[in-house]
Every structure is written in C-alpha cells, then in structure tokens.
Amino acid sequence: MSRVPARARFGLTLLIGLGVLSLVAGRLFPEALASTCPLGMDPTRPDRTVCELAFGGLWVSLAVGLAAGALSTLIGLTVAAVARLTGGAVEQAILRAVDAVFALPDVLVVMVLQLAGQSLSDAGMGGGLGPFGLMVASLALVGWAGPARMFRNRLATLESQEYVTAARALGGGGVHLLRVHLWPALRPFALAVFLSRLPAAILTESTVSFFGIARMEPMSLGRYLGTSYAALIYEGGGRVVLPAWALLVLLVLGASLASQALQSAPRRAA
C-alpha cells in the first residue's frame, strides 16, 4: 500500500467509504435511515425520505459503475490483446473500428441501445437481461473503445522493452509474452483504466436515467433526480438535489483521483 500514491489512496478510500456507507445505510439499516433523515420526505414520493432515496440511489449508481467499468475494461483489454497478437492489417482495422466507436457520443448511443434492449425485453427476447443488466451492457458496449486504445498503446510501448525482446528471441510466443511478461506490467495500468471508466459510466447512466429512458428499480441517483425534476422546479427542491449531487460528485471525485494518480505514478521495472 505504501507504493500507492497518496492521492490514489485518498481516492480509493473515498470510493470504498461511499460503497460501505451506501451498503450500510441504504441496504442494511434502511429503517434507521428513514427515521433519522434530517432532510425530510421527498416531495414526489411522500412515503420515502430524501436520505433513503439518495443512499439507495448511490448504491445502484456505484453498482452500475463498477459492473460497467469492469466489463468495458475487460472488453477493451481483450480487443487490445487481439489487435497486438494479430498485428498488421487486422490491427489497423481494429484500430479504425475503435476510433469510430470512440467518436460517438456515449449518451446518444446508450439511449439507442436502451431503446433496442427494452424493445427486445418487451417482446420477450431480452435474454434474461433486466434493466440493470441492460444498462451495464449498454455502457460496456459504448465504453470499451477508450480502454482498448489505451491498452493497445501501453502494450505497444511495453513490447519495445528489452526484456520482451529477449523473451521473444528465446522463442516466447505472443500469448506467452502477454501472459507471463506483459500482463504483470500492465496490471496496475488496468486498475487505473478501470477506475477511469467508473466515473464515465456513472455519469452516462445518470444522464440517461435522468431522461427517464432507463427503467431501473430501485432508482439510481440519476433516475431519482429525473423522476423528481418537474416537481423540483416548482417546489424549490435544492434540499433534494444537493445531497444526490454531493454523493455523485464524491463518487466521481474518488474514482478520478485514484485513476489519475495511478496512471501518473512512476512505473517500476517489471
């Protein structure tokens, strides 16, 4: 842990703290949260307190972010590994596809994928994906291009190192090099990339849910704000908006700090 930069430690602590808080407050002791909430009841849902909805939403947003971030990092890693292993024209074609996906705005594509997924679910062809799974899949399908590009570039840099050249000269194959020599050096970077996807996934999900397109229950932070927004405009709902916003900012702040610090940390020789 002493090798982890201080800012990364702070970010990770914040992230884990929020996760534990949302689990304890929102899932394990919801009655205590409901009876002691100083912010009162939600104007659009008089049966729930603002704290219940905010901490419940925090838990869902965090779960969506973690699952989507992990899945998009995994897809990106696989695509980058395939690109480097095949090389040549196939690698170029993969890179062009990555660029094309990367150029598309996340929110727009997630909305289209949600529409497609919900239509399939309504017709009984959803493949068992509920609203949560559909959101995670949509975010992963949109978010893999960035990690793929980063992993491909990092792999290309690592492959030019002397120890990799030596291993190749000794007859090491592509998969062997990747598994034994490159992956240990890539692992901390993979964690940083995963953490960088986390805020992007959470924010995209929040925006799409805010539009009312996702149907997740219990509600994420974005969906909570989205379902209440019309009432908020007329009832001066800063009391409702500010806690959810603060939680969202803290979540993103933790992940961003940890990711940036890990990415800029000096690399040790593998």
Binding site: L104, L120, G222, L232, L251
Partner: protein
Amino acid sequence: MRLVAQKLTRQLVLVPLVAVASYFLMTTLPLTTETEAKRQVSKELAASYQRDLGIGEPLGFLRPWEKLFRGERLGTSAQGITGDELLLKLSGSVGVGLMALPLALAWALGFALLRTRWRRGKWAALGDAVPAVAFGTPVFIPALLLAPGVVERGHMLPELCAALVISVWPGIFLGTLVGDSLETELSRDYVRTALGKGLSRGTVLRRHVLPNVWPALLDAVGPVATSLLAGSFAAERVFGLPYFGQLYVLAVLNKQVAVVVVATTTFASLLVLVSLAVEVVRYAVDPRSREATT
C-alpha cells in the same frame, strides 16, 4: 496532404456507417402491438414504423431520407418531424452550443489564471478539486438548480441559461489543459532565450508560446464539441427548449424509430463536420501537422 485526405475520408466514412448501422438495428427491433405486451404500441405508430423504414423494400434504408427530402413527415403525425423542422431544431441546439462556446472559453481563461495563482499559495488543492467537481457534475444538476428562477419566474433567457450550464465542464476542461500546456511551454529553454534576447513577455507569448499551445487546444475541441452538444440534451429537457436534444429524447421515449435513425446520423454528421474543421485549422496553424503530411 495525402495523410490529411486519409484522415478526412476516415471521418466521412463514419456518417454512412452510423446511418446504415442505426437503420438495421432499428428495423430488427420487434414492435410489440399485442395487448398482453408490457408496453403497447399504437396502431398509428406501427403504421408509421412500416411506412417510414421501408422494411422489406430494396434500398429501404434510404426511405427515411427520401421522405425528409420530399418534405414528408417522419414518425406519427403528433410527434413526427419534417426535414425543415429537423433543421430548425438542429439550428436551435447548434445556436445554444455556439453561445456556450465563448462562455466555455471565458471559464477556461478564468480557471487557467486562477489555477496559476493558486498553485503558488495555500489554495493549490483547489486547482485539482475544481476540475473533479466540474467533471462529477452532470449538466442536469446545475440546470435543475437554475430552473426555478428561469422556468417559473422567467428571470433569464432559457437559451442563455442552457448555454451557461453546458459550458462549465468544457470550460474547466479547456482551462486545465491550456493551463498545463502553457506552464510546460513557459518553462522551456526557448522562452528563456527569447526573453534574454530582449523580446517582451507579450511578444514571446504571442509569437513563440501560443503556437505551441494551439495543438493541445485543437486536440480538446472534439471532446468539447461532443460535450457541448450532448450536454445540450439535458439542458434542453430541463429548461423545456424544443430543440434537437428534446426531439431526440422524445423520439427514443416514444419509439419513433425513423426519427431516431435520422437524428443519430445527423448528430454523427455534425461531429464529423467539427472534426473536419479542426483538421483544417490544425493544418493551417500547426507547422508540425503540415510537415507530417508532406
């Protein structure tokens, strides 16, 4: 020049790709009309779906565009759209984006200056915290906070407020980027040499430093343009602006699939246009870009 042409071709290929991919994705979707289905689809919508997408016809994927060019309505009569209306709504969103651009530049300049000042004092941590807070704040949150004053009491123009809220993150992002780049360039030897030879600080900045900062700024234009346009979706929804973002969200919510296909392609084309403009500007202002292409 060949490399620039290659880059432009790659960008332009994206438009038909998006058009065809979104068309085929939409046409493969089942449109549930049975009463037992969870979400019923009206007969009118089902008919417009068939009519607009030309399903089963040769070159059916051109049908939505054909209808738009003929001036016919896409989608149902209540929520559909004609080509002229689409352009009008798009121009509304682009207008909001263009209003947001100078605001974003103002935020960027202000933040870059403040960050340089904070770096030397006890407020150094703010230089890192502000971008994190700005990034962690989805556009709809400041929009929601401003909305009571704008929508209910009519204190400010909704368009101006939308531009204001969508400009914050791009502004802080640009400010961070330009601030970092400026700081790096100002610490280089060539700046000290130029100052040592008697040039004024302003001249060094204008003639030597800024040309080296331009590429970093141009690299950021793509993400900033995407962010401004995508951000306008949320702002338009909160402030009730009837432009492209609102059209898109309503088309998705109401399953107006032909409108979704056309709007997605239009949006992608807009981003490609921005990207092309950036490449042209880069070619004009960055000598390294010209050297790499000869």
